[in-house]
Amino acid sequence: MINSVWSICGMCTARCPIRVEVENGTISWLEGNPHLLDGALCAKGSAGLALLADDERPQQPLIRRGGRGAGRWEGVSWDAALDFVAEKLKKIIAQDGARSVIMSCRGGPFVDPAKAFIKALGSPNFTNHDSACGRNVHHASLSVYGLGRSDFAYDIKNARHLVLFGRNLLESLKVGEANQVLDMLDAGGRLTYVDVRQTVTGLKATRFFLLRPGTDYALTLGMIHGIIKAGAYDKDFVDCYTAGFDELAAFVEPYTVDWAAQECGIKTKALMGFIDELGQDRPRVIFHPGWMLARYRDSFYASRNIHLLNVLMGNVEIKGGQILAKGVKDCARKGIRNLVDGPPAPEERRADGVGWKHTHFDKGPGLFQLYYEAMQTAEPYPLKSLFCYRHDPFTCFPDPAAQKRALDHLELIVSIDTHYSEFGWYSDVILPESVYLERDCGVSVQKGPNPRLIYRKQAVSPRFDTKPGWWIFKQLAERLGVGHYFPYNTIDELWAWQLEPTGITIADFDQKGFVDLTDKPVLFDREKLSGSFATPSGKIEMVSEKLNKEAIPSLKPYASPIKPPVGMYRLVFGRSAVHAHGHTINNPLLHELLPANTLWINKREAGKLGIADGDWVDVIANGASGLIQAKVTEFIHPEAVYCIHGFGRQVPLQSRAYHAGMSDQKLQVGLLTDLDPVGGGLCLCEGFVEVRRSSKNVKRSVEL
């Protein structure tokens, strides 16, 4: 008998909705949810079956018996592992308080049990990966709209012009979003793509700017200048809803289109042509704010300008523009219950300083990398334990060697993950979570123009002795005397408890895998948007009152990025459509498609270095080096070299991924403390590397 299970993909963090056919306990078919994606799924999505079938993942709880990172593991029962962790935690809490425990996760809709657990313990130290990802964009959004990054959705399908600053959305792929872009292009829309190299997304562009690395801020300044001069902005919208336009206009006065073109290494005529197009296409122009903008020292300001460009287009709450994401309340419905709302808020200050020392950052998840400093200085107080749930800081953050030095101050490191992460391999205990096809997750609200409730449902029984997150955190909580904040024993009880106020039951998900909270998109009256923006002035703030109070400029004078020293290159990184950073590299079917990354280097530069396409090259940073094959191409800026992120893994039990390709983060020496002081993001593209043809290119071998 074939059983149809609705669930959510877990191969990357796009979390596309899926439908799974299960026949006699085995998956016979897996596809994108037909109601939302018409069956479409990416390569990673299908390769979920290879993940499920793979034995090279933790198969039972593991406790470290050798030194950290030595790989001597003892497989134990869940009771033994949970007791071990709980006993250690009890001692740590008795000695240094609950505040000495940090919980980090990868973020997303299903982290409620992890957040509730750390809050129930009484620690304020919940954090996530975002300072290596979207923090700059989020903080920039807050400073402009008073609303966060995820408070906007984008009606790309109906746009006339989509502008992407390195947002490689056809490779860093969400199935629904990619289809929106192609639908827009099919309907005659324009796509302008800006990057330091060509990508698949750029292949589809109608206009392409190959930018000098680190000059995005200059480009946005020139664009704003040109748009204002040409009058190619929505004056009514700007008058009605914004504050600080005159200051913006005066500020960009010196940053002419000509200046920007020269600074960025592009043609003035092309930039003028682009601005003309905006005049024709507005207001249905979307400047995509991107997700991952933890790149340069002025990425916060570049990101802020991208938000301002949207505002100048007047694209808020219109078809083909930015739509304010709606939640439960906007549909006049009652919300679901979340576990995290149970425990009282911890009174203690965060050890990363966010909220009291660094008052301009959003308190939510704080900034992970600041904990590393606190671990070493024991300021503001000692830290003793770190839990990482579905999060691999050694892959996500720069300079794992520096991270290890900080972690050596901790007494307990726990990894809760489906696979061996680099961090997990260094930790004291691995609590293996079942992979997404083997586990349920709680109900979550998906905000947007069509808000809905979503959930993840187990399709098949776990192949190994692994458990779902909702179970693991409840078990730990019970052992630590806070089990009452987890009022369930089974997932059905959790779902029922969450849904109880809504009048919706879990059976309502059976039909489509989600429950719509509205029949049609919820759009606010564009004439009555006042009050929609949560800034101090209630307006869209081109000059932020909050930043003013902190004596931080909203409009920062431009400083040109330093040119790489002679013989060195700026190391940039990105994504491929067939891998999701580090955690798919060992997947047999994805490894077959892309077993190793290459180093992209500009053809002319390669010529100077005597490097031919396919040659092995040594990539050297201060105190670290990597070996990789060169991909010689004219379609990357001469100042940059590029590789796909996630490779160069060092977990011996991952036989396919082990030492395959090169890790960019291991070459980001010193960048762990390189923080954007205003945006809070890391500056991951501020590192330079030397590249030379490797002696490992075989010339002769005299072996018998």
């Binding site: 390569a43 390769a47 199935v175 990619a178 099919d186 392409f208 459509a577």
Partner: protein, 150 residues
């Protein structure tokens, strides 16, 4: 005359190789055999934009397939609707089909020890469904086309 064709709308194709994995997982294939393939020419600049076009290839399901007569066990067959397929029960894995094919399209499956090739997912087609690569194509760039004589 062949009844079916898989057509790629290269304007929508993003070279994500999803089709290759959709195919492999549907047929339960291990690492090794790949039954359909996305490829592209090296990039070249067109009006200032580096461009290339993605191409899709599976099996041509030839009108007069050379793989069929060469098969010693009659495992390689062509149906009246034009689909060329391997009868897994009869195949002995000698791979004469691969040698006979001008493009070397039939692949060896190291797990079953037999030949395997694109058969347009005939079990799905016979149920009124589309081949796996088409059904799940990330951007709906692949189309399963029924040919009609005009």
């Amino acid at each position: 005359m062949n009844t079916y064709l898989i057509y790629l709308n290269s304007k929508r194709c993003i070279g994500c190789h999803g089709c290759e994995v959709h195919c492999k997982t549907n047929k339960g294939l291990p690492v090794g055999p790949i039954l359909c393939e996305i490829s592209h020419e090296p990039l070249r600049s067109v009006k200032g934009i580096p461009k290339t076009v993605f191409q899709f290839r599976s099996c041509y399901h030839c009108e007069d397939p050379q793989c069929v007569p060469v098969c010693p066990t009659d495992a390689m067959r062509k149906r009246p609707d034009g689909i060329v397929y391997v009868d897994q029960e009869k195949c002995i894995g000698c791979m004469a089909c691969q040698n006979a094919c001008p493009w070397g399209i039939p692949q060896f499956n190291p797990v079953s020890g037999r030949a395997i090739k694109c058969d347009y997912c005939l079990d799905r087609v016979d149920r009124g469904l589309k081949p796996a690569c088409v059904s799940k194509c990330t951007t709906h760039a692949l189309k399963f086309v029924r040919l009609v004589e005009v």
